[in-house]
Symmetry: C2
Subunit: 212 residues, 2 copies
DNA sequence: ACCGCTATTATACGATCGTATAACAATGGG
DNA sequence: CCCATTGTTATACGATCGTATAATAGCGGT
């Protein structure tokens, strides 16, 4: 009696992306409790069964969503670093600043990030993804630091400096995203630039805003 | 046929505390998914029905648990700063280092903290508590920085430095808690001390370990 | 134009969730 | 010593979760 709903066949790629994006939206909005297979499928415009056609299970979809999210974060900063004059200090400045302003420094992103953070405990695969993306981001930072060509600094020192600078950026990102109204305009960007500059012993230029 | 299990009547206070502690443990260990009414009651040594005898519902218990957790965190920070010789740099060092080693830098704590962080979205009361505790922590740090008596630094500069140092500490704490096996021994402590020292332009002494 | 393939839907199943309610028993007062 | 109180257990209920399986329909090949 009930009419079977019509549908269009689509590529595996687009379906997987739609499901991943739906999962990310729901996770950000309402946390893990809101991201059920039914709600995810509903938002993606499909029925729940399709999830298991493209993913081994809900955990598999969650992992894919986490990887997509983290890769997107670093991709934004890498893109910001790449676009612009090829000066070592300027590139580092752009990389830092892009992490301390929207769309990276965003309340929804923080909520999403914290939701995933809870999943890495006791889940070795999620933990591996976290480690990969963390090291990926830090390696970019370390390469930028090494490119500064500071006298008397070896590889070990560069690694330690990258860890410290990564800490500053992460911490400021977290605080700015959690309490946006507590910091004015580009305050956190400036603080971040000066802090990283102090740690590295260099003067970091303030990048021009390409989106005023 | 089934024997009814024996029990002892206990005070409301001890029961509530036992339930709150059980909820915190499970929440930290396995996230919200693991903190079910049944598992909480089981760990607290009671049966699930008793939860609704002392709390209006699971949400009520969860709120009580978070409140307890935040109170404990601030208590640890205050204690860590107070104990020790009354030297400005030494006090700052102890404050930093205590945040970058167990029991503060701990995977369970990070998991709990991220779970809490997620609740501040769209919840003004939780948001207010978060702001309160964040500013409380930062104000302590700012006071320690101001006590350094650095030449040529005004209040505005101290505020900015406190924000930056808070960022370093938070970021390193987060990374060390999330990936404990990626950092050896006191590596993060040393990095944290040098980073904060560089930002503030002072040399920070390495505190003696009181628990070898 | 038809047919096979499979993407997609529909339905069902067992587990577990939070909650409600009734039965029981430990404890203190008389 | 017994009774009333109520802390505590036991059981049940409806909802919803993730998953499994069968039925259907869109689409490309011929």
């Amino acid at each position: 009696m009930g009419e079977r709903r019509s549908y269009r066949r689509e590529s595996e790629e687009s379906r997987r992306e739609a499901l991943v994006l739906a999962a990310l939206e729901l996770l950000a909005e309402g946390g893990p409790a809101a991201a059920t297979v039914r709600s995810i499928a509903d938002r993606a415009g499909v029925t729940p069964g399709l999830i298991r056609h493209y993913f081994a299970g809900k955990d598999d979809l969650t992992r894919a969503a986490y990887r997509h999210f983290m890769d997107g974060m670093t991709a934004i900063s890498v893109a910001a670093m790449t676009a612009g004059p090829d000066d070592a200090r300027a590139r580092l400045s752009r990389f830092i600043v892009s992490s301390l302003r929207p769309p990276v420094m965003d309340a929804l992103r923080l909520s999403l990030w914290s939701a995933f953070l809870q999943l890495i405990r006791g889940n070795p695969e999620m933990r591996a993804i976290h480690r990969q993306t963390y090291h990926g981001y830090r390696d970019v930072l370390e390469a930028l630091i090494a490119a500064l060509d500071r006298p008397g600094t070896d590889a070990t020192r560069c690694r330690a400096d990258a860890i410290a600078c990564n800490g500053v950026i992460d911490g400021l990102w977290m605080e700015g995203a959690a309490l946006p109204e507590d910091f004015s305009g580009d305050q956190l960007e400036q603080i971040g630039l000066r802090a990283v500059g102090a740690i590295l012993g260099v003067e970091l230029p303030i990048p021009e805003r390409n989106q005023p």
